[in-house]
């Protein structure tokens, strides 16, 4: 047990996710099929894209609620550009740029004006949601080219491009966080901002960049999602960011900052996705699914804080 504890503490979420996978494979009809796996991966793509960079923001000590608003609004900008110019790469670029600018604005508000990041991004969320209604004239926007749907719906080796994009973004975030100077700075800033400052880390710049990247990733996630759905509609729906935060937190990244990893978020996302998949295959009432999902998130966070309190 004493040898098992540290392993469980570090890799607990991965172990649990694999266990859930094996359990579903053994007990559930229809789970073990290529079509089902493909579907799960495709459905998770947007969430993974946004969550991998939201992880970096959270490790840097920030909390970004505006991910949901960017996810909703960036594709509206992209689709407007597409219908105006017919230029799909430009449309994607604009969608990502919208996210990047919202993120950088968040970062500046948080670091320069010292507004708590939860409040700051809540406020910018409302502004961005509002901009979405303005740019779309409160109506559903549909794609007008063949190229835009192809962004997410093309197939390579059986998997959709949405899945491949998500894979690429996860790898980029992972490498950025674990193998670069920026990544080290992110951990230091989130773990102890004053110590980081005295060690010469440009704290404000690191946090601003982290917010900017999270915004850009959320923009890309929105574009991919609208490409899958062939349309985008303005709303003020915060639910996407809750999914993102759930994945990050269930993975074991600390809300207090300074600790966490991109692989954790991937594991957390798949844990939740497999759970939902299992429920659906067993035809569990979606209302009950929510109740259980909430309980699981609560449990994950409770276990995390319990293990952190145990002596080394």
């Amino acid at each position: 047990m004493s040898r098992l504890m540290p392993v469980m503490r570090r890799y607990g979420i991965a172990v649990v996710t694999v266990a859930l996978f094996c359990f579903l494979a053994a007990t559930t009809d229809g789970f073990w099929s290529q079509a089902n796996f493909r579907n799960v991966l495709d459905q998770q793509s947007a969430l993974l894209i946004a969550a991998s960079f939201a992880t970096i923001t959270m490790i840097a000590g920030g909390f970004d609620l505006s991910v949901a608003s960017v996810y909703v609004v960036a594709p509206l900008f992209a689709l407007q550009v597409e219908s105006a110019t017919g230029n799909v790469p430009l449309a994607v670029l604009v969608g990502v740029a919208v996210g990047l600018s919202v993120g950088l604005a968040n970062g500046i508000v948080v670091t320069v004006m010292k507004v708590n990041s939860f409040i700051a991004t809540l406020a910018t969320s409302f502004m961005v949601f509002g901009a979405g209604f303005l740019i779309s004239d409160r109506s559903v926007l549909r794609t007008s080219t063949d190229a835009y749907p192809a962004i997410a719906r093309t197939r390579f080796w059986g998997l959709t491009t949405a899945t491949w994009i998500a894979f690429a973004v996860v790898v980029v975030a992972w490498v950025l966080l674990s193998r670069t100077r920026f990544g080290r700075h992110v951990y230091a800033v989130g773990g102890n901002a004053e110590a980081a400052r005295l060690a010469g880390v440009p704290v404000a710049r690191v946090q601003t960049i982290a917010f900017g990247l999270a915004g850009a990733a959320a923009g890309l996630a929105g574009v991919v999602s609208s490409s899958r759905a062939l349309s985008a509609l303005p709303s003020d729906d915060f639910s996407f960011v809750f999914g993102v935060i759930a994945a990050v937190v269930v993975g074991g990244t600390s809300i207090a900052g300074g600790e966490g990893a991109v692989w954790r978020t991937v594991a957390g996302a798949f844990f939740i996705a497999l759970m939902v998949n299992g429920f659906n295959l067993h035809q569990v009432d979606p209302i009950w699914q929510r109740v259980i999902q909430g309980g699981v998130i609560l449990g994950a966070v409770a276990i995390d804080s319990w293990t952190q309190r145990r002596p080394q």
Binding site: R179, R184, G191, E194, A195, L198, A199
Partner: protein
């Protein structure tokens, strides 16, 4: 004893019967309370509310503020510790906060009070007052455990002394039979002469000046601070808590942007940025290891290389192997004892954590080394190792600015001492004038007049 850490083996006995504690609350119910080194107060609440917290007088469902206030007033009268009752605790000085913490412990009908380094953050006259209170408590029949690394305190306040080393009690005996030197010997396992190394050779007139500070000022923190340090010279910066020593150190390092004045290294003016300071070979050991120094939870290696990552940055991300080797090398130089560089830094002992900061600083190949309270919260054995490192640095031609509240440390290591009071450098001592009495005298004498320079030839005494 206070129920914070459950023991693996052995037990506690209260009035002869065994006692099992599930936590601090149960300990408090038995009259066992502690005054911690790290404050555990609620900064947003008033002094009264903090003191009565958890044992409020009630009238029915509601808190009886008047009764609470009376209780606190009588407590203050009895012990002579005065603090403004209605102030928000967060707005008080650290010393006053410490008093609140002590009053809280005293207000609980305690039978045993554990003081854990209670004076570490107090100015010396306040420490005297506190020791008087502790004595009074003992005379009233309360058992007191007084944990301190200030040996003169222990000697003056205690009836019997237990000496610990490496988690074991070396011996317990009457305080009358102990002296300062006998305590140090028992704590370190070596004789007193070994605590401080011999001084490194002082620089002479021809030695180049490494850093020149001229009329550095910052609003309420320090005014017209000027000094220079030569290569290989150790300059002590002494003064009372709040005299502005750390602020000056930070301004020289670049972490505080001064309002006026010049910091110049080898003809280059530095301009209030940590990155500039680091690039010019300034290293800082900050005062608070936990808040300003280490990133807890990150590995020893990450903590050491944090300011130096640029040199390990390759085109394809960090060159981790090279980084690991360099961190290992720095650990050897600074004498860090760690099983592995991948351990989280907070798994190390206080002394080793401090050495991690030294390893980090030395990796920058500093030309100016600023050590702010380098031995705070460090065991006596590690102190010697840290002094050796400082001396070694000086011998190799590094200029050193040593900020310390431990006068003995300043006197035994420095070639020259600057004394600060109320944000100004009020005196400078060298040679035989560099005594604890002189330094203290200058630190308390806050006349603010022109700076007195004492430079004496050997044999003269002030």
């Amino acid at each position: 004893m206070l129920g914070v850490h459950p023991p693996d083996k052995g037990g506690l006995f209260l009035d002869g019967s065994p006692l099992q504690l599930s936590g601090p609350a149960e300990a408090a119910a038995h009259g066992l309370v502690g005054v911690a080194q790290e404050l555990s107060l609620l900064p947003a609440m008033s002094v009264v509310d903090n003191i009565v917290l958890g044992s409020e007088e009630r009238a029915g469902l509601f808190v009886n503020d008047r009764a609470n206030r009376r209780r606190v007033e009588s407590l203050i009268d009895r012990h002579g510790l005065s603090v403004p009752l209605d102030a928000r605790v967060g707005s008080l000085s650290v010393a006053d906060q410490q008093k609140v913490e002590i009053l809280r412990a005293l207000g609980r009908q305690s039978r045993l009070v554990v003081f854990d380094e209670p004076t570490a953050r107090l100015a010396s006259h306040e420490a005297v007052e506190l020791r008087r209170t502790v004595r009074e408590l003992a005379d009233q029949g309360v058992a007191v455990v007084y944990v301190s690394h200030f040996l003169h305190e222990v000697l003056s306040v205690a009836d019997s002394i237990s000496i610990m080393r490496d988690g074991q009690i070396v011996r317990t005996g009457s305080a009358h039979q102990e002296t300062h030197d006998s305590l140090v010997e028992a704590m370190t396992g070596r004789s007193i002469g070994d605590v401080f190394p011999p001084k490194s050779p002082p620089p002479d007139e021809d030695t180049p000046v490494v850093i020149r500070v001229e009329e550095l000022s910052k609003d309420d923190q320090f005014h017209d601070v000027s000094f220079c340090i030569r290569a290989g010279e150790i300059v002590g910066l002494a003064g009372l808590v709040g005299a502005g020593r750390s602020e000056v150190a930070h301004a020289v390092y670049g972490a505080i942007r001064p309002r006026a004045g010049v910091v110049e290294m080898a003809g280059t003016r530095l301009s209030g940025s940590v990155q500039r300071g680091l690039a010019n070979g300034i290293s800082l050991i900050p005062e608070s290891r936990r808040h300003q120094g280490l990133v807890a939870g990150r590995s020893v290696r990450d903590n050491i290389t944090l300011p130096h990552l640029r040199r390990f940055a390759g085109r394809l991300g960090m060159r981790v192997k090279q980084e690991h080797a360099a961190a290992g090398e720095a650990c050897r130089e600074a004498g860090v004892r760690a099983e592995s560089l991948s351990l989280p830094v907070n798994a190390l002992s206080g002394g080793n954590q401090q050495k991690v900061l030294f390893a980090r600083a030395m990796m920058g190949e500093p030309r100016l080394f600023i050590a702010d309270e380098p031995t705070r919260g460090v065991d006596v054995g590690s102190k010697r190792a840290i002094y050796d490192v400082l001396n070694q640095l000086a011998r190799s031609g590094c200029a050193i600015l040593l900020v310390s509240s431990e006068l003995e440390e300043v006197v035994k290591l420095s070639h020259r001492v600057l004394v600060m009071s109320q944000g100004r450098v009020v005196a400078e001592f060298a040679g035989d004038d560099m005594t604890e009495a002189n330094i203290l005298g200058a630190a308390f004498d806050a006349g603010g007049g022109p700076r007195r320079v004492f430079q004496s030839t050997p044999g003269e005494r002030a």
